[in-house]
């Protein structure tokens, strides 16, 4: 990378991506070159994002954003145009990681709207436009041309998900995008399907009719009917209260504070009901997640997740739908790909492996985001055996990757060279990491997030500990992890607080990024809410010493999470404190 930067390759390539000024094949070639640069930058290591940042900062300038938008707006069926669209969307997914860039891409009538029109074109191609949409006033010309055969859906969905991230603002921007409104209008009159369809759909349970009521759109008929037993709680709030209270009795759930609140307080309380009806885009995305291939399905869920979290879905009903239709899909996807996870030498990555890896890297974190604020969805994940699937995936991520490249023998060993005297364009940049290791490190972070999100209750946490997840979590606390050892193999250090940390990577295990360490701390924090685990597993694995050291970590983010863990660790204490812990006059709020 370094020599390419030194000769100014990036501006040269960027000058060729405008579709107005350059022939299509040159645009394709430039986009491909950028994609390769972005891929190479990602290999430099998760610890330094500097190279990716250089590329993204130069790509997401008003001028180039405009070029991207022009590419994405094109509805030409030519393969070359479709290739351009996929490449441009892919670049956005790879490079857009900063809030400022996301906002720049989400400007009204900008890239996000262009992507939305591409998305809508797929619905048109499949004949899934909401019936009657074309009769709306003044929007019929916003309905895009059907997507041509060669068009790829996954990159579009992924780019949209990347841009929205966790913003309610940008999620609403997508929902009100002209093409989306045209294809998926929020109809005021309920949709009545032909008698045959209706009776089949309702045959599962006639009682479900009143449950759905007005909010049911034509799109829902593409989905299986969700039996109402889960939502019935909603109708009988008293029952729910009763079960809640009973569940809350065990001592630890004093006040499990989740401070994670990206959207701020809900501003919609004052918005009238008519304004709140759900966009049919949401059931359509659920449908996509279940009917398309793995990657497309995953990306549909990635778009669906922020929409759900920003409360753009009908609350009670959709939660049940997600629990029964999406959570199992996501976990099944994970298991299928875990099995496919073929042996790879770690050096070269073919397209199939790349897809497989991407799913394994993204699915757990996505699951975490989807369920983190919903007890029902956490229960759904637990029922779908999330514990064993996630544990297995984490174990997989700590398999030693054997192929370590030995330095080639050379007649002129490096030492004699005087690096400084050569021009910058002739000095190679830092050595990249093995793609397999990068993949595993990403999986570690992602899985740890999912484990933390599925550890909301004592039972779930205990299930994880029983599955022997601890050694892997503990290794994730180390910057340079080694082979995860279970409790019997583990040597007890005499003075754990004075022992120096290993200062270089152990072959085959790589270097944990700080995001992995932070995710591991969160997982430990969740585990430490159980007194039992706090006293047994966490002590046995000696996590106190590493956490304590993190209090003095140079990285403030790590200090912050470590302090949060310590808040729970100091509660372990003497038997006397245990009594207080369970008593009714308990003024501790578990963190």
């Amino acid at each position: 990378m370094a020599p390419l930067h030194a000769v100014g390759a990036l501006p040269a390539i960027l000058s060729n991506i405008s579709p107005y000024l350059n022939p299509p094949s040159l645009v394709v070639a430039s986009l491909k070159a950028l994609t390769l640069l972005a891929d190479a930058a990602a290999l430099v290591g998760p610890a330094s994002t500097c190279d990716s940042q250089i590329i993204s900062d130069s790509l997401f300038t008003p001028h180039h954003i405009e070029s991207l938008q022009a590419i994405l707006t094109s509805s030409s069926p030519e393969p070359v145009a479709q290739l351009q669209i996929s490449l441009a969307a892919g670049l956005i997914s790879k490079l857009c990681a900063y809030e400022g860039h996301r906002c720049a891409l989400a400007k009204p009538n900008g890239v996000l709207d262009a992507l939305a029109s591409r998305l809508a074109s797929f619905a048109v191609a499949d004949g899934q436009v909401i019936p009657g949409a074309e009769r709306q006033d003044g929007v019929s010309d916003s309905i895009p041309e059907p997507a041509p055969k060669g068009a790829r859906l996954a990159p579009i969905l992924e780019a949209i998900a990347t841009i929205i991230a966790d913003s309610r603002y940008r999620a609403f921007m997508l929902l009100t995008s002209p093409c989306i409104l045209a294809v998926f209008p929020t109809s005021s009159t309920p949709f009545t399907p032909s008698v045959g369809v209706k009776s089949t759909w309702y045959s599962t349970d006639p009682h479900s009719v009143p449950l759905y009521g007005e909010s049911l759109s034509a799109m829902d008929y593409l989905l299986p009917a969700v039996p109402p037993h889960r939502t019935s709680r909603r109708l009988r709030p008293k029952d729910e209260m009763a079960t809640r209270e009973r569940k809350a009795v065990p001592g630890t759930s004093v006040h499990e504070n989740t401070r994670f609140e990206p959207f701020g307080p809900n501003l919609d309380s004052q918005v009238s009901e008519s304004d709140r009806s759900e966009s049919p885009l949401i059931p359509w995305l659920i449908y996509l997640a279940r009917s398309r291939g793995h990657l497309e399905g995953l990306m549909a869920i990635a778009v669906l997740t922020p929409l759900f979290r920003a409360d753009f879905a009908t609350k009670g009903i959709r939660e049940a739908t997600l629990g029964l239709l999406i959570v199992p899909t996501l976990l099944q996807m994970l298991r299928d790909n875990l099995e496919q996870n073929s042996e790879n030498d770690g050096m070269t990555v073919d397209a199939k492996t790349a897809t497989n890896w991407k799913i394994l890297e993204r699915a757990p974190a996505l699951l975490a985001r989807l369920i983190i604020d919903s007890e029902n969805l956490q229960q759904a994940a637990f029922d779908c055996k999330a514990v064993s699937a996630l544990t297995r995936l984490l174990q997989e991520a700590y398999k030693s990757s054997v192929s370590i490249r030995q330095p080639m023998w050379s007649a002129n060993p490096d030492e004699g060279m005087e690096e400084a005297s050569r021009p910058a364009s002739c000095v190679l940049g830092g050595r990249g990491h093995l793609p397999l290791l990068i993949h595993r490190i990403k999986v570690r972070e992602s899985v740890l997030k999912a484990i933390a999100a599925t550890s909301g209750k004592d039972d779930y946490r205990k299930a994880y500990v029983d599955q022997d997840v601890m050694p892997y979590v503990v290794e994730s606390l180390a910057r340079f992890p080694g082979k995860p050892l279970n409790i019997k193999e583990r040597a007890k250090p005499d003075k754990p607080f004075e022992e120096p940390d290993p200062m270089e990577a152990q072959p085959g295990y790589g270097e944990n990024a700080r995001s992995v360490i932070i995710a591991a701390c969160h997982t430990i924090r969740m585990f430490s809410r159980s007194v039992l685990i706090l006293r047994t597993a966490l002590v046995d694995y000696g996590i106190v010493a590493p956490i304590f050291k993190f209090l003095r970590h140079p990285d403030i983010e790590i200090q912050i999470v470590a302090t949060a863990v310590v808040a729970n660790l100091v509660l372990d204490a003497s038997p006397m404190r245990e009594v207080e812990f369970y008593s009714s006059l308990c003024f501790l709020s578990l963190y």
Binding site: Y169, L181, F548, L551, V570
Partner: protein, 339 residues
């Protein structure tokens, strides 16, 4: 815990509680709050001294993040004034860039209705406005600071056979002497009042800027006390009253504070209402016959301040069964002593 304390965790956490980073301050205070719960009094004293009583007051009283934001804004504004010329240039550059894409721009200009635009603007404001975040950070830290005091005066672990009461009394004494008794009660009262933030902000007159809408709304605001904070304040008083008659007398003599509390019987938060009932119960509690006369005085004072009237309403009308029961208990005790 033992091993952490040996390693000097108190010192580190106290340092972190002085950090510039709000999240770190919050977590450190949270950890300290847990640390001082149900431990021997000398240990509690060490924690308070390490944290520094003055700093604790600062954490509870001041809107640190909010103020930081204001000064940061003032700086930005000053820079803005200097940058004006460059800004104009940039905009022109942008216009030039847009010439190529004029076709695209016009094509999708329609679509969103004004209502949608308004909602978009609202979401954008709520996400990009740092005032809200600063406010939340400050409140969370203040709440933990109050909880810290509450845990200091509760659940003392009796050491070497001394009575729990003696321990608690000693701790409250220490707290009063290090923070100042009057000052402490004044702080608690201040947390119950609605406040006007920055009544004389210069920002409110500037106007005209791109984001003048958001800044005028945030420049001077009336802040009503949050239920979490109120609850924390009341619970501190509950614990003072749970100790010995002497401190019950101290609490009942805080007339301005109690007058403020009466207003919160109408709180929407059931925890606040329940805590207030709890406070009345504790204030009218008697350990021995020595306290009977004073308990009667306290009951009369509570009646005079309007507590009894509110309790009667709660007993009959509160939607929460728990609150009803607590109100009933409190009323029973008050009536017993009123004679």
């Amino acid at each position: 815990m033992q091993v952490l304390v040996e390693q000097g965790v108190i010192k580190i956490l106290s340092e972190h509680a002085h950090s510039m980073n709000a999240a770190l301050r919050l977590n450190a205070l949270w950890a300290l709050k847990h640390l001082v719960y149900a431990v021997p009094t000398p240990f509690k004293k060490t924690c308070l001294e390490e944290l520094e009583p003055g700093w604790l007051v600062h954490l509870i009283c001041d809107d640190t993040e909010d103020n930081a934001l204001i000064s940061a804004r003032a700086n930005v504004e000053r820079e803005d004034d200097q940058m004006m010329d460059e800004d104009v240039d940039m905009q022109q550059g942008e216009v030039r860039g847009w010439l190529f894409g004029s076709v695209v721009g016009q094509d999708s200009a329609k679509g969103r209705t004004p209502q949608m635009e308004a909602r978009l603007a609202r979401y954008r404001e709520s996400e990009s406005n740092p005032v809200r975040k600063a406010r939340n950070d400050d409140l969370a830290i203040q709440e933990q600071g109050l909880h810290f005091i509450r845990n200091l005066v509760t659940g003392a672990k009796s050491d070497m056979g001394r009575s729990l009461e003696a321990e608690t009394t000693e701790m409250i004494n220490f707290l009063f002497s290090s923070l100042g008794q009057d000052r402490l009660f004044e702080i608690l009262a201040s947390k119950l009042r609605a406040r006007v933030l920055r009544p004389l902000s210069r920002r409110s007159t500037s106007g005209g800027g791109r984001d003048s809408g958001s800044s005028t709304s945030s420049a001077s605001r009336v802040l009503y006390p949050q239920s979490k904070i109120i609850e924390a304040v009341v619970m501190i008083l509950v614990h003072f009253s749970a100790s010995v008659p002497k401190y019950r007398q101290v609490v009942i003599s805080q007339t301005p504070l109690l007058k403020l509390l009466v207003n919160h019987f109408n709180s929407k938060d059931k925890e606040v209402r329940a805590a207030l009932c709890h406070l009345v119960s504790n204030l009218t509690w008697t350990d021995s016959s020595d306290d009977l006369v004073e308990a009667g005085q306290r009951a009369n004072e509570l009646h005079r301040l309007g507590f009894v009237k509110h309790l009667e309403t709660l007993e009959k009308e509160d939607p929460e069964l728990d609150v009803q029961e607590r109100a009933k208990q409190a009323l029973f005790q008050v009536k017993q002593h009123q004679g």
